[in-house]
Amino acid sequence: MRKYSHVLALFNDFEAAAHAIAALRESRLQGFKMRDVMLKSPIDHPECAEELGERPVYIQLFTLMGAVLGSSLGFLAISAAQANFLRQPRGGFPLVPVPPNMVITYELFILGAVFFTIIACYVVFWLHHDKDVLYSQEISVDKIGILVKADPSAVAGIRDIFTRHHALEISESTDAARQK
């Protein structure tokens, strides 16, 4: 199994971090891909994250699925329970009362969408979660981190780029060290 190293550099501000990311992209260093470069920050900063390239988000797709399933459950299940499974003596009223069922359908439409949205987001968090990877508590305060997963041969070049862009602190770990 191929061994990788992780390099984490901390920066004071987003401008410095953005310049470092741009330098990484233009460096043509062998041994890492821009997909393996990750920005860690205390606030959301889409402009800086754009420097890393496109990060697709599929949450809305799951929201749509949840909405469709929720509304289907709301209407079909409740209607079926009233109309088909049991005979109701309703005195001439329709077997499936559409307006009241629409209200419940509306509520379950939203509830289904909410559940699927949140589950999708947790799945994404879980997929991108690696508890052993380098992390600094300074990131939750006021520092911007750039984490690079790279071949050990590229680490020196990456450290050099970070140093040239005034990284405050650079730390490194290897797969072998983490497995210990």
């Binding site: 990750m38 205390p42 994250a49 009241p100 969408a113 990131i139 006021d142």
Partner: protein
């Protein structure tokens, strides 16, 4: 009075250059924000404990009253024909209404990019959640037979018992259940980055607690991108849900035949009233939290002013809908509804009716005066008066209507709840306040990452050079 002479050295400053007070100190460091908010979890002012134990005592009294009512029967609560709903349903509507402004402040202002909401939306969301939990209790209390609660839930009728799907009470259970679930998710999800900050600073059991809740948050760009989309999506889903909940509560009344309730304007009237009472409650809690947790740097006077302006605007919408309701009844063709309106204004409950109108429609004008808006003790009193007015509004919806229905033999010339009902209602306020204060002690009640974003973007906006107008095209030379 001597005429003033113009001083030739006097400098006139154009209004557009007058510096407005800032919503927040933009020079505050991010580390300071963390320290202040995390500090609030450790050492609140002594008033915190006074409020907490006071609310705990009120809650215990409410529990005693409820146990007494449960063991003895609903008769001890002075619930009798025609006053079968008493204060329970009025207070249920009050708590449902309180829950709406958390959504307004959090979701609607989020979509509108009003960044002044950022230091204060977290506690407003918590208020939403705990108000809904309190409202749910009243459904149980009012039922009397608590163990038969599932009769109001929409479930398949496998036992040949028929929940009436055409009844708004069944819709209510679905709507409130959905709203409570979504509100809890929305509140928790928005806290995840802050829970990670708590995790990084905590020790022992607290660290484990926050680590579990922060679901591995490391602030990566992947996480932020998904977080942003999810949060916005939840906000968009929450807004129609909030509107539907109070519309359905209004439908509980509007679909009935009682004079005074059978009005098509009830749903928007309820929604406006809900937003109004919620905003007033937010002002009250704003002032309490600002003092007890030393949040003077975050819950600032300019933000309080904006809240007051929002409350005033909503109060005028509520007043307008009130006038619409009175006018449509007055000029309508239903003599019973008109008689019910006259009874409210001149009958047994006239004092309450006039109090409601004065507190709900006249007192808000205090919010238009800057001197009053910026004076914290005055605002505390005004917000409490507005809350009282909105509680009386719910009382006026329920009680006088039952007291003066279609059947003269049911008309009552005296009715007032006894100590059991009042005790349970006091207990509900204790329950809400206790949960709210506990929340503020365990979770950050100011959103740290959003305040950082607010400060960051405001400073960055100041640094952006003002775009210069493009040079005009050279004019052709005149021949």
């Amino acid at each position: 009075m001597t005429p003033t002479t113009h001083d030739e050295h006097e400098v006139t400053v154009e209004p557009r250059f007058v510096i407005k007070p800032k919503d927040i100190n933009e020079e505050i460091s991010w580390a300071q924000i963390n320290e202040d908010v995390l500090g609030s979890l450790e050492r609140p002012r002594p008033l915190y404990w006074v409020i907490f134990f006071g609310s705990l005592a009120a809650f215990c009294w409410g529990v005693y009253c409820e146990v007494y009512q449960y063991r003895t029967g609903l008769g001890v609560a002075a619930l009798e024909n025609p006053q079968v709903w008493g204060l329970y349903i009025a207070t249920f509507i009050f708590w449902i209404g309180m829950s709406h402004s958390g959504t307004l402040l959090s979701a609607i202002l989020l979509i509108m990019h009003a960044d002044w909401r950022k230091p204060i939306y977290r506690f407003a969301e918590a208020m939403t959640t705990f108000s809904l939990m309190t409202a749910g209790l009243f459904v149980l209390v009012h039922l009397g037979r608590i163990w038969q609660f599932y009769y109001v839930v929409a479930y398949p009728s496998e036992r040949w018992t028929w929940p009436n799907f055409s009844s708004p009470l069944v819709w209510d259970a679905t709507a409130i259940g959905s709203y409570l679930t979504t509100s809890v998710i929305f509140l928790y999800f928005g806290m995840i980055p802050d829970l990670a900050i708590c995790r990084d600073k905590a020790h022992g059991f607290r660290r484990t607690f926050y680590r579990v809740l922060s679901v591995g948050w490391k602030g990566t760009d992947w996480q932020w991108a998904n977080f942003r989309v999810t949060y916005l999506t939840l906000a968009c889903l929450l807004i129609p849900l909030a509107v539907s909940v109070h519309s359905i509560v209004a439908t509980d009344f509007a679909v009935s035949q009682q004079p005074g309730w059978h009005t098509t304007s009830f749903p928007p009237y309820f929604v406006a009233g809900a937003l109004y009472s919620g905003c007033a409650a937010i002002i009250t809690l704003f002032i309490i939290l600002r003092y007890t947790f030393r949040f003077e740097q975050y819950m600032t006077i300019p933000i309080l002013e904006k809240l007051c302006k929002l409350t005033f605007a909503i109060s005028m919408v509520w007043t307008y809908l009130n006038v619409v309701e009175y006018a449509s009844v007055w000029y309508g063709t239903d003599p019973y509804a008109k008689q019910a309106l006259i009874f409210r204004a001149t009958g047994l409950y006239a004092g309450w009716w006039w109090s409601m109108n004065i507190l709900g429609s006249v007192v808000p004008f205090a919010l238009t005066f800057k001197a009053l808006r910026t004076h914290i003790p005055t605002m505390m009193v005004v917000s409490l008066l507005l809350n009282l007015g909105m509680w009386i509004e719910r009382f006026m919806i329920v009680t006088p209507t039952f007291a003066h229905g279609y059947y003269p033999w049911t008309w009552t010339d005296h009715w007032w709840p006894n100590w059991v009902q009042i005790g349970i209602i006091l207990g509900s306020f204790g329950w809400f306040t206790m949960l709210f204060m506990l929340f503020c002690k365990i979770f950050p009640s100011v959103s740290m990452y959003e305040v950082k974003e607010m400060v960051y973007h405001r400073i960055r906006a100041r640094k952006v050079p003002v775009p210069q107008p493009a040079p005009s095209a050279p004019q052709p030379a005149e021949s």
